[in-house]
Symmetry: C2
Subunit: 407 residues, 2 copies
């Protein structure tokens, strides 16, 4: 048989997985710095949980993968990490609040395929459950800002509030209006107006909304009191937290229906990648649907695959530090290799001849090769070659470890 992958899923090669590790480490260390702790929920959930009232909404439901458990129950693969969190919170009523958790894992959506859009992909989420303080919203923006600065990304964090949108748009079918408004940057105000007229909205209303969107911060504040007070508060906390790249964007909408307050999206500056690389918001109602009791909550989600396409400099092809090349000294080489491993050096022993071993090292950019011949064993000094510069050193064990670890 000629084996292939299922449509819309990917293998990750070594160089990709090493880059992924780098990003995951940055995310994890920042989640921890900001007081988040890890949990894990299963990939398989009950279908009725994933399709509950405040869950992902109609658009996502069409894309659920279903399966059955020996034909007994209706099961499904999770399509995000937020609905499972809501289920988790409701099943663990004794959690001390605020509960700050992070989770990273694959999620599944059986939707249309586009370049860069997959059916199995990884989300990295941090959420705070049980605090309605807007300080929490700002802290997530600070977290995002730290993550991207550590990854050397220049980003803009766009912030808005569902309450601003509510005050701004005096119509019944807010969702339809919001979906068009979300395209303001892409298609301009003329394009948005045309689309909204097409949807049957009143021209006067459209013009008034678009006019308000062109107001400066203080004038808009005077127009829309409530939501703007919250935005004010979040922006002030951001200042205290040292976040510099936050921009209030009253047209920012976010698709998902469960948001109730602050919403935000992170975009790369000057990049070919124009979709957001992180996003989130406050959803104070969703958990209540599961637990019968409302829990204020706010979260952020980083798309690992989007981050990887933004970072795609694969400068490391292997975790191996040194390849050991034995010249008829297999037994001694093996013993030496174990000593190096005890010191935490990542070693590989070439089972083939020296030339093939060197080729192997070059093709995977392994930084060092260690030659072990008769003289070397006799004098307990081995030849270490720096594979980049070609330099060679005659070293004992300790100096080999020092040289390799200085990398």
């Amino acid at each position: 048989m000629k084996p292939t992958l299922a449509k819309g899923v990917q293998d990750k090669q070594v160089r990709e997985q090493i880059l992924r590790d780098t990003i995951v480490n940055v995310l994890e260390s920042n989640f921890k710095k900001y007081g988040f702790n890890p949990i894990q929920t299963p990939i398989i959930e009950r279908f009725d949980v994933l399709t509950s009232k405040y869950a992902g909404g109609e658009e996502i439901l069409k894309e659920i993968y279903t399966l059955s458990d020996q034909g007994q129950r209706e099961l499904a693969l999770r399509y995000d990490l937020t609905v499972p969190l809501a289920r988790f919170v409701s099943m663990n009523p004794n959690l001390k609040l605020p509960f700050k958790r992070y989770q990273m894992g694959q999620v599944f959506r059986d939707g249309p395929l586009k370049p860069g859009r997959f059916r199995e992909f990884t989300q990295c989420d941090a959420d705070v459950v049980g605090s309605s303080s807007l300080f929490t919203d700002a802290e997530l923006l600070a977290l995002a800002s730290d993550v991207f600065s550590e990854l050397n990304f220049e980003v803009t964090i766009k912030v808005n509030s569902r309450k601003v949108l509510d005050a701004l748009i005096p119509v019944e079918d807010k969702n339809g209006f919001i979906l068009s408004l979300d395209k303001l940057e892409k298609i301009g105000s003329k394009g948005v107006k045309l689309e909204l007229l097409g949807k049957g909205f009143d021209e006067k209303v459209i013009d008034s909304v678009l006019d308000k969107l062109s107001l400066d911060y203080n004038s808009l504040k005077a127009e829309l009191k409530d939501g703007m007070e919250e935005i004010d508060s979040v922006l002030n906390y951001c200042k205290l937290l040292g976040v510099k790249n936050v921009v209030f964007t009253p047209s920012l909408a976010r698709g998902l229906s469960y948001y109730t307050g602050t919403i935000f999206e992170v975009f790369l500056n000057n990049s070919k990648i124009t979709s957001s690389i992180g996003a989130g918001g406050r959803y104070d109602k969703m958990i209540g649907d599961f637990s019968g009791k409302d829990f204020p909550a706010v979260g952020i989600s980083f798309g690992l695959d989007a981050l990887m396409s933004a970072l795609d400099n694969y400068d490391k092809e292997s975790y191996v530090d040194v390849i050991l090349l034995s010249i008829n000294q297999d037994d001694e080489s093996i013993k030496l290799m174990q000593l190096l491993r005890k010191e935490g050096v990542n070693c590989e022993f070439s089972l083939k001849n020296v030339k093939k071993g060197l080729d192997f090292a070059s093709s995977y950019k392994i930084p060092f090769a260690l030659f072990i011949g008769e003289d070397e064993v006799k004098n307990n000094k081995y030849t270490l070659r720096d594979m980049t510069s070609g330099e060679e050193f005659k070293f004992g064990l300790n100096d080999i470890v020092k040289k390799i670890k200085r990398l």
Copy 2:
């Protein structure tokens, strides 16, 4: 609605996930030390790939979760990481050999539930593809030995070879015979004999096999040449590699049908957990089924859930190092917190009052609390309380960082 979990899957609480991180870190660092590199394959695979000739065998096929891709193709959830590796190798013909990869991830089996047996569980595998050297087999045993010694487990690694079993058991239906023999330690030779008689095997053959199993190493070696030469070789390499806890066990069988040479299982000494916590073997034929070309291969799989039940000392409940308690000094506290985070300290800011903050810290065993009041801000010296001893210190920022990181 009252949300519940699907049957046979689990949530991992924070304390479990922290313990899991510890184990995963030990596994990953040892995989790297031994020259392995990470890849990732998807959870969703094509049904025809997972049910291919040399794949898991009939027993596992009954337990496959199937799903469909918009009704177009037959898909399934992976039930191990070995069959996907075989697919990966055949789809990447230009891999430099030997290809040493590790992968950790969830796998799915819709089988009967027992205590400690789940339908979604995590495997951590290291495999070497493209080397038939028995040194490779021994290296996996050295890797296992290092992992368990770092986790402070006392283990016995039982080793056998399919070739030993072939020479030992002169019957057609080897699998039926082997499945009974595998129970030798559990039910004794009398029990095994009864079971084999019940399966219709010849009494003389049964007696002769059981007799041979009681022979000492050298006598057995004289009886069965071929497979024993391989065992000899593996055990010699183990000596060179410094592995001490390997025991040749001619009755060890391993269920899976794809093994062709060395097989091994790791057991805890003096533990209530009697099932193996790691296992593997050589499978030189399976990849050939996918690629049309035989690749020798050998691998080991660690069961993360089994390791967790063996280790279940949850001594850490949170990654948070210090909780900041503001006494009417919120703005200053927030600024100080960001400085601590810059130094890599994991911080949490109590949004509630001081007493609630201290309770929160105690309940999650957070090691430090930092009090920030008017005097503290004025003098730039803060009160750091060691939550275990109750000791308090008046420190500036640098000393706070030093004290916390010394932990």
